[in-house]
């Protein structure tokens, strides 16, 4: 289980990015972090990954506090971030250095097959399209068989068609080992299509505004009324989260004198 306990992040310049975030994600659960820009969703993800340290509080995987990148936590970034001097196969096996060569090859071949890129092992990253590169990036994170996979707006740079096909690929990959998925997105449709729960964050400082369960059977029909209803619920919460901060903000900065004039 992924546990996030009273996590705060204050940047050196005084900006409070996150305020006391607490969240439990069950093993194998898919959670989407949704929110407007600047609500700290990427910051939260980077702290779960161990790339950044929280100011207070902590994130833990199965009770083990995460201080630095953890072997059982994988991450996929917004950009594919493939190493351009390695072939596709070498990129995928980048985190498999500790395994024997034939096991590496076996996992790479299987991974390529699963994302429809069989035979692409010897290509250079420059020869891939954006969607292909992102698929390689996802399997690079998954071949190490992490318990949790974090995804930071992984499909936001892709066109709508490619995005949908990659969401399906992601779900298919998730089915094999059922890792915990934490997906940061600003796309409500994506959240409803993939997640068991949508966590709506509100900005300044980043907090959890709503925790919406999405109890739809998989595979999900994007055109069904239930899907539309779930989307509507998340959108409504998102609207609320964006309109909320002003009143909240005013309350926080209110001086005693100003408070009296109300």
């Amino acid at each position: 289980m992924l546990t996030i306990d009273a996590l705060c992040k204050i940047y050196p310049n005084g900006t409070q990015a996150l305020e006391k975030i607490s969240l439990n994600v069950d093993a194998g659960e898919i959670v989407a972090l949704v929110g407007g820009s600047g609500c700290g969703k990427t910051t939260l993800l980077r702290m779960i990954s161990g790339l950044e340290a929280p100011t207070r509080g902590h994130a833990a995987l199965d009770g083990e506090v995460i201080h630095a990148p953890h072997p059982a936590v994988g991450i996929v970034f917004q950009e594919a971030r493939l190493l351009p001097w390695l072939t596709v196969a070498q990129n995928i096996s980048f985190g498999l250095d500790h395994l024997p060569k034939d096991e590496q090859e076996r996992r790479v071949d299987e991974a390529l097959l699963r994302v429809g890129l069989a035979g692409y092992g010897n290509r250079w990253p420059r020869e891939l399209s954006g969607g292909q590169a992102q698929r390689v990036s996802i399997v690079r994170a998954l071949v190490t068989q992490p318990k949790a996979l974090l995804l930071d707006e992984p499909f936001s740079a892709l066109d709508a068609l490619t995005r949908e096909s990659l969401q399906d690929h992601l779900l298919a990959l998730w089915e094999t080992h059922r890792p915990t998925l934490v997906l940061v997105t600003h796309d409500v449709e994506e959240a409803v299509a993939l997640a068991d729960r949508a966590i709506v964050l509100q900005p300044k400082p980043g907090r959890i505004f709503a925790d919406i369960p999405i109890d739809l059977p998989r595979p999900r029909d994007r055109l069904s009324p239930e899907f539309a209803e779930a989307k509507r619920l998340v959108l409504k919460a998102l609207d609320g989260s964006i309109n909320q901060p002003h009143s909240h903000q005013a309350g926080r900065v209110q001086s005693p004198a100003a408070g009296g004039s109300f």
């Binding site: 950009e79 351009p84 001097w85 390695l86 250079w124 990253p125 420059r126 399209s129």
Partner: protein, 277 residues
């Protein structure tokens, strides 16, 4: 997905060898047009008695001198002497420049400690060191190699430092996510990432190495292409000076070409607009 685009990339990549060679040949010949025409015109003007060739001998005479030097074995001696000096000075300067550049590029503290001093030293015109080097190291090989090494050091140092400091944070983060040790990060991420810049730094270093070997040999040597230059000046033999200059050009070009050819296999991954040209 976009199979069509992919196939296209592969075809431009796997251009037939012969075709590529033809393109190379054409651009090579095109580059020769200007110097060859100028040489032929001057030769013709000389044959027609239009120019006095005492100070600027025609190409035929320069190449005759070059040929004579080659036949007597003198040219080989001089070329060897110069090559050994450049090789040793370049090796020393490039190695130290690479190590210090990697250190200051990778560690902010090392940069704060070392870089101001090195930049101050860089501001000194390198030839100003000559008297000191001669006092310290004598007039023979050591002082010459030291001077060449100083010339090679700075471009390599600057190039490597800037390249390492400019490696994309996003790429370095990939290494962090996979928990690479510091050494593994250098080996598996930083070094391959800076390779293209490193090669440019090495090439400009070698260029400066040739510049400084001339300076060193002009200031006192009994052999080397620079010696041929001075000897030609003192004995009034412009054809010998020009022959030495041509030898320098060929030698420098071969050195640069060697770097390019030897490193090319490591750069096939690059995604540049002139790839394959």
């Amino acid at each position: 997905m976009s199979e069509a685009t992919l196939d296209q990339t592969t075809t431009t990549n796997a251009q037939p060898k012969a075709a590529r060679f033809a393109v190379f040949g054409t651009s090579f010949l095109l580059g020769l047009v200007l110097p060859v025409t100028a040489g032929l015109l001057y030769e013709a003007a000389f044959r027609a008695g239009l120019v006095q060739a005492r100070l600027l001998p025609p190409p035929s005479r320069v190449f005759t001198t070059l040929w004579k030097l080659a036949q007597s074995g003198e040219l080989a001696t001089h070329v060897l002497a110069t090559t050994v000096r450049v090789g040793m000075g370049f090796g020393l300067g490039a190695l130290v420049g690479m190590l210090l550049g990697a250190l200051t590029g990778a560690s902010r503290n090392a940069r704060r400690l070392l870089d101001p001093t090195l930049q101050a030293l860089r501001a000194i015109p390198s030839l100003a060191w000559v008297p000191l080097f001669i006092l310290w190291l004598g007039i023979f090989e050591s002082s010459k190699i030291a001077l060449i090494a100083v010339g090679v050091f700075f471009p390599v140092y600057l190039g490597v430092m800037a390249a390492i400091a400019n490696v994309d944070r996003k790429i370095v983060e990939v290494g962090r996510v996979f928990r690479l040790s510091r050494l593994a990060l250098v080996r598996r991420v930083l070094l391959p990432a800076i390779l293209p810049d490193f090669i440019i730094a090495i090439r400009s270093g070698l260029g400066l190495g040739f510049m400084f070997v001339v300076a060193a040999e002009i200031m006192g040597a009994s052999e080397g292409l620079g010696y041929l230059l001075v000897d030609g000046q003192q004995l009034g033999k412009p054809d010998q000076i020009l022959a030495a200059i041509i030898a320098f050009a060929v030698l420098g070009k071969i050195g640069d070409w060697l770097i390019v050819v030897l490193t090319k296999p490591f750069l096939t991954w690059q995604d540049t607009h002139q790839r394959g040209a």
